[in-house]
C-alpha cells in the first residue's frame, strides 16, 4: 500500500463481496490495536460489535451493492481490547483484478458522538413529553362530568375547533347512553372564540342529545358567542339556554325531579 494512504489521518479498509478484508491501512490498525495479519483475510464483521454486524448485513452491504456507494454511515468499530471506536464511513465499490471490491474510509467521531447522544436523548425526551401532553389534552378536551344521577355537565374551556368538537360530541353521546342521562348541561363560560362551523356543530350536538331522550341546556353564552350564533343564522330550537351555569344547574335539578 502507498505510504501516504498507509499513514493518512483516516482509516482505510477494502473488502471483497464475501466480506474478506483485502487491504487495511496502518492508521486503522492502530485504532483497532491489531496487527495486519490478524485483520487481512478475516471477515470485515470481525472488527464490528455484534449489533454492527447486523447493521452491516442488513443495511450497509445491501446499500453498497445496490447503489455502488454509501456515504456518511455511522459505525462503531471494535478494537482488540473490546472498546468501541465510533466512526463515520464512506464507501464505494470498484473493480480490481477482475473482482468487485468495496473501499471504505473511516473518520473517528468521538466528540461528535457525545453531541449526537445528547441530541438523541433530548429528542426522545421531547417525543415522550409530547405524547404525554397529547394524551392530557385529549383527556382535558372532552370531560363529561356526572353532576348527579341522570345529569351530565360538559364544560367547554378554551378554543373549540372542529376536531375537538367532534371528539366532544362523540364522548357526550356515549355518556348519555352509558349513564342514562336525562339532562345535559353544556357550559360555555370558559370557552373562547369559536367560528360558525363549530356553533352549528354544537347545535347539532344538542339536537342529537334531545333525540336520545335527554334535555340539553346551554349555559354561559357570552356576547361574542351570541353574535356568532346570530351571524351564522343558527337557531337553537328546542335547546334550553340559561345565562349562567348556576341557572343551568337549577333547571337540571327541576328536570331531574320531574
Amino acid at each position: 500500500m502507498d505510504e501516504l494512504l498507509n499513514n493518512a489521518p483516516c482509516g482505510f479498509l477494502s473488502f471483497a463481496d464475501d466480506g474478506r478484508v483485502l487491504k487495511v491501512n496502518r492508521t486503522l490498525l492502530g485504532w483497532l490495536g491489531r496487527a495486519a495479519a490478524e485483520v487481512l483475510g478475516s471477515h470485515f464483521e470481525t472488527v464490528l460489535p455484534p449489533g454492527g454486524r447486523i447493521f452491516y448485513q442488513t443495511h450497509f452491504f445491501p446499500l453498497l451493492k445496490l447503489h455502488g456507494r454509501a456515504e456518511e454511515v455511522y459505525f462503531s468499530l471494535r478494537s482488540a481490547a473490546g472498546s468501541d471506536v465510533p466512526v463515520l464511513a464512506n464507501a464505494a465499490r470498484a473493480e480490481r483484478d477482475g473482482a468487485a471490491v468495496n473501499d471504505c474510509v473511516f473518520v473517528p467521531m468521538r466528540q461528535r458522538r457525545r453531541f449526537e447522544d445528547e441530541i438523541l436523548s433530548a429528542k426522545r425526551e421531547a417525543e415522550e413529553a409530547n405524547r404525554v401532553k397529547d394524551e392530557l389534552i385529549e383527556e382535558l378536551s372532552t370531560p363529561v362530568i356526572k353532576v348527579w344521577s341522570g345529569a351530565l355537565l360538559v364544560p367547554v374551556i378554551g378554543r373549540l375547533k372542529r376536531e375537538r368538537a367532534d371528539l366532544m360530541m362523540a364522548a357526550l353521546l356515549r355518556a348519555v347512553i352509558d349513564r342514562r342521562a336525562r339532562v345535559v348541561i353544556i357550559d360555555l363560560t370558559g370557552a373562547r372564540a369559536m367560528d360558525s362551523d363549530v356553533v352549528r356543530h354544537l347545535s347539532d350536538a344538542a339536537a342529537a342529545v334531545r333525540l336520545m331522550g335527554a334535555e340539553c341546556v346551554l349555559t354561559g353564552i357570552g356576547a361574542s358567542f351570541a353574535r356568532t350564533l346570530v351571524r351564522a343564522g343558527v337557531e337553537l330550537t328546542g335547546v334550553e339556554v340559561r345565562r349562567t351555569l348556576a341557572d343551568g344547574l337549577v333547571f337540571a335539578m327541576q328536570k331531574s325531579q320531574n
Binding site: 460489535p49 454486524r53 447486523i54 442488513t58 443495511h59 452491504f61 445491501p62 446499500l63 455511522y74 458522538r113
Partner: protein, 275 residues
C-alpha cells in the same frame, strides 16, 4: 380492495408461468434485494415481489404502529397479497426475518402455500442458555438500535418534512431512499425490535407446509447452530448449507441461491399430512 392492497404493498407481478412464487424481503431493505434472483424464475413462474408496509415504496399512510410491532402484522401483509391476487399453492421465498413471517402466514392459512424457502432464517436471535444459542445478547440488539438511531439522526425533524412538502421534487425522496432502503426511522426501529427481539421457537411445530432451510456458511446473523435447531424442530424441513458466506446469499451468491431453490422445487417433497 384488492387493488388497494397491491398499491399498499407496492406489489409487482411478472413472469410467464402460472405457479406463483412470492419473494419476501428481510429487515432493512425492500424488494430490490431480490433483483439478482427473482428474474431467474420468470420463465417458469408467476413472480410476485412486494414491500412490507413501512418499507420501500409501500404506502406509508397504511402504517399501523401497533400492527407492525409484531411479526404477525407482517404475516398479515403476506396473506393480504395472496388473497388480493387469489394465489394458491404459493412458493414462498423469505429472506431472514421473512422466513418466520412466512411460517406464521402458513400456520394461519396452510392451503395458500405449497413450499416455504427460508433464506438465512432464525426463529430467535437472542441466546437462551443453556440450550439455545441465537447468536446475540439483548445488549447487542440495543447496540443495533443505537446504530440505527444515529444513522437516521435528524431524519424525522429535518428530512421528513422536506419530502412531505416537496412532492414535486422526487429527487429528494430518491436521495433519501438511496441513503437507506427503508424510510421512516421510527418504522425501521420498530421493525428491528419486532425482528430481533422475537422468539418464535414455539411456532415451529405448528408449520405444516414443507420447507427448505438455506443456511449460509459463516453467517453472523443466523449461525449454523440456528439452522440445525430449525431442521430439528421444523416439521417437513430440508436443511441445505450453502457455500455462500454472510447473511445475504441472494445478493452475494445469486447463482448458488437460484440453483439451490430450483433443485428443491424440482424435487418431490411429500406434503405433511394435515391434522
Amino acid at each position: 380492495m384488492s387493488s388497494d392492497i397491491l398499491r399498499r404493498n407496492n406489489v409487482k407481478v411478472s413472469g410467464r408461468g402460472t405457479r406463483p412464487i412470492l419473494f419476501a424481503h428481510g429487515f432493512g431493505c425492500d424488494q430490490n434485494m431480490w433483483r439478482y434472483v427473482a428474474p431467474e424464475f420468470e420463465d417458469d413462474y408467476r413472480v410476485v415481489l412486494f414491500d412490507y408496509v413501512g418499507s420501500g415504496k409501500s404506502d406509508m399512510s397504511a402504517y399501523d404502529p401497533k400492527k407492525y410491532s409484531t411479526l404477525g402484522g407482517y404475516a398479515e401483509d403476506v396473506l393480504d397479497i395472496c388473497e388480493a391476487l387469489r394465489l394458491r399453492d404459493v412458493v414462498f421465498v423469505g429472506h431472514s426475518v421473512s422466513g418466520v413471517v412466512g411460517m406464521l402466514a402458513s400456520i394461519r392459512e396452510p392451503e395458500s402455500f405449497s413450499r416455504l424457502v427460508l433464506v438465512g432464517p432464525s426463529p430467535c436471535y437472542i441466546n437462551d442458555p443453556p440450550d439455545y444459542r441465537g447468536g446475540f445478547e439483548r445488549a447487542d440488539i440495543e447496540g443495533l438500535l443505537d446504530l440505527m438511531d444515529k444513522n437516521y439522526i435528524g431524519w424525522a425533524s429535518f428530512l421528513a418534512p422536506v419530502v412531505v412538502k416537496n412532492p414535486e421534487r422526487p429527487e429528494i425522496a430518491r436521495e433519501l431512499e438511496e441513503s437507506f432502503c427503508s424510510t421512516d426511522p421510527r418504522v425501521a426501529r420498530r421493525f428491528a425490535e419486532a425482528t430481533f427481539l422475537a422468539d418464535n421457537r414455539g411456532d415451529l411445530a405448528r408449520v405444516r407446509v414443507p420447507s427448505l432451510i438455506m443456511q449460509c456458511s459463516d453467517d453472523a446473523i443466523a449461525p449454523p447452530e440456528v439452522g440445525e435447531y430449525l431442521s430439528r424442530h421444523l416439521p417437513g424441513s430440508t436443511l441445505r448449507v450453502l457455500e455462500a458466506t454472510g447473511h445475504c446469499p441472494h445478493m452475494t451468491h445469486p447463482e448458488e441461491t437460484v440453483r439451490v431453490i430450483r433443485e428443491y422445487l424440482g424435487a418431490e417433497v411429500s406434503r405433511q399430512a394435515r391434522p
